[in-house]
Symmetry: C2
C-alpha cells in the first residue's frame, strides 16, 4: 500500500458538495471514489483538505488516499481522468508518506470569491460568479477587509452546522481586486469556519453599498454573535484555489493572482 | 408598430444554434421569440446579425424585430429578461428606424476564439474554451495570422452549407493574445463565411504546432480549395463579441479587449 495526494479541479455546479452522502446524491467524494474503483478495483476512501459546499468550485482541492495500485504518479492523473466526468479533473498526483493527511496537515488555504458588479445581466458566466448589480464603494470595502486580517474568533462570521474545536482562525490576507465589472475577493487563512468566506464577502458587499461601516463590522466581529453581518453570498462565486502544506510556500503564487481567463 | 434592436448575450452550450428549426430543438431564435410572445402577446419574428452555430456563445449578438409593444426601450431589457432562461440575456434595447436590418446593415463583426493551451486538463471552463494540450509557436501563429488580413476569397476557409453570393471577405484584423495558459484569437471582418473563424483558428493551431507553415497557408488561401487547411475547431471556444453598424465605431473597443474574467 502507498499513500497518494491528488490536486483536483472541479466545477461545483452539478455536485451536492464534496462530502459523500447516502442515497443517489452526486458528490465530489462519491464520483472520485467511483472513478478510483474503476481504475484500481479497490474500494478507496478519500480524505479532502476542505469540504466544499454544494455549488462551490475548486481549482486546487487536495485529497489523499491509500492504494495498492502500481500506476506511476506521473501517469496517475491521465489514468484517473479517463474515468472521471468532464466537470472534474486531476491536475497533479504525488506519492506522500503514510503520515500525510490532506486536512490535518493543511497549513493555509486560499479561497477566491468572484462577483460580477454590473447593472447588466450575466448569462455565460452565471454559474461561476455572483451577479451583484448595486454600485460599490471599493475603498470602503478594502478598508473593511483589513478588519478580518489577523487572529480572531470568527463565530460571528460562521454558520451553525460543523463541529469545530475552536472558532479562532488566523486570516493572513483578504484582498479585493477589481477588473472592469469583475471583483475578486481573495483570502488566505490557516483555516475557515463553515461558510466563513461567503459571510465575510456578504458583509463586505454590505459595506460597499453603504449599509454597514468598517467600524460596525469590527464591532460585529468582536461581539461574536451570529447573524449580525451581511448575508451569505451564493456558492457559485466561490472557488477553493489552493491548499498549502509547507510554511515556506509562496502564498502570492497560484492560479488566483497569476492567471486570468480572458473572456472574449 | 416600431422596430427594436436588441443586444444579446447567451451561453451557446444548450442551444442548437441561433436559427429556429422545426421540431423541439432549442434554438436562440426560438427561445427569444417565445419570450417576446410571453411579454407582448405578439407572434414576433426576429432577425439576427449572425447565425451562430450550435454551442457557439455570444456576448454581443444583435437582433431586430417589429412590435406594437409600448414598453419603453430602457425598460425593455429587464422586462424581456424576466421571460428569458438564465443562459440568455438582453443587454441593451434601442428603437431603430424601419429600414434598419440587423444582418444587412452590419458593417463589421468581431469574433473571439478562446484556447486553453496546457497539458493540464480543464474542468470548470470546459464549455467555454477549446483545450489544446500541444505546445505552440506563438510567433509563427502571429506571422501566419497576417496572411488572412485583407480582402481575399476565403473559399478555402469556409464550409459547405450556406448559400452566399460572394466568398470574398475583408478581414481587418486577426490578433492573437496569450495570457498564462490562455490564448485568444480575435478577428474583425466585414463578414465571415460559414465556419470561417473556426477553420482559420484550426489552421493557425496547425501552424503553431509546426504542421503547416505561413507560406503553405498563404498558398492554401490563394488556391481556394476546401479541406487543405487545418481542422474546424470545436464551437465551445467561439464567441460572437460585437456587431458594428457605424463606420466610425471604435473597433478596438468592446468586451474582447477591455475586460477579462479574472478566474480565481
Amino acid at each position: 500500500m502507498r499513500r497518494l495526494k491528488l490536486i483536483l479541479e472541479y466545477d461545483g455546479t452539478h455536485f451536492a458538495g464534496f462530502q459523500k452522502q447516502s442515497g443517489k446524491v452526486r458528490t465530489v467524494q462519491g464520483v472520485l471514489e467511483e472513478a478510483l474503483f474503476q481504475l484500481t478495483g479497490e474500494k478507496i476512501n478519500v480524505v479532502g483538505a476542505g469540504r466544499t459546499d454544494s455549488g462551490v468550485h475548486a481549482l486546487g482541492q487536495v485529497v489523499h488516499f491509500e492504494t495498492s495500485s502500481t500506476i506511476p504518479e506521473d501517469r496517475f492523473p491521465a489514468a484517473l481522468n479517463g474515468h472521471l466526468p468532464s466537470d472534474m479533473a486531476v491536475l497533479e498526483a504525488a506519492a506522500v508518506n503514510a503520515s500525510f493527511h490532506a486536512r490535518y496537515d493543511a497549513l493555509k488555504k486560499k479561497y477566491c470569491y468572484l462577483v460580477f458588479n454590473s447593472r447588466k445581466p450575466v448569462a455565460i458566466w452565471r454559474r461561476h460568479c455572483y451577479h451583484f448589480p448595486v454600485p460599490l464603494d471599493l475603498s470602503a470595502m478594502k478598508e473593511c477587509a483589513q478588519v478580518f486580517v489577523g487572529e480572531h474568533d470568527f463565530t460571528a462570521f460562521s454558520a451553525v452546522g460543523s463541529s469545530v474545536k475552536s472558532t479562532v482562525r488566523h486570516v493572513f490576507s483578504m484582498n479585493i481586486e477589481k477588473k472592469g465589472e469583475w471583483i475578486r475577493f481573495i483570502s488566505i487563512a490557516n483555516g475557515f469556519l463553515y461558510k466563513m468566506v461567503r459571510l465575510m464577502v456578504g458583509t463586505l458587499l454590505e459595506v460597499g453599498r453603504g449599509k454597514l461601516s468598517p467600524a460596525q463590522v469590527k464591532h460585529i466581529l468582536e461581539e461574536g454573535k451570529r447573524g449580525h453581518g451581511g448575508p451569505t453570498v451564493p456558492p457559485q462565486g466561490l472557488y477553493l484555489v489552493k491548499v498549502y502544506y509547507q510554511a515556506d510556500e509562496e502564498v502570492n503564487k497560484g492560479v488566483c493572482l497569476d492567471s486570468g481567463l480572458p473572456i472574449p
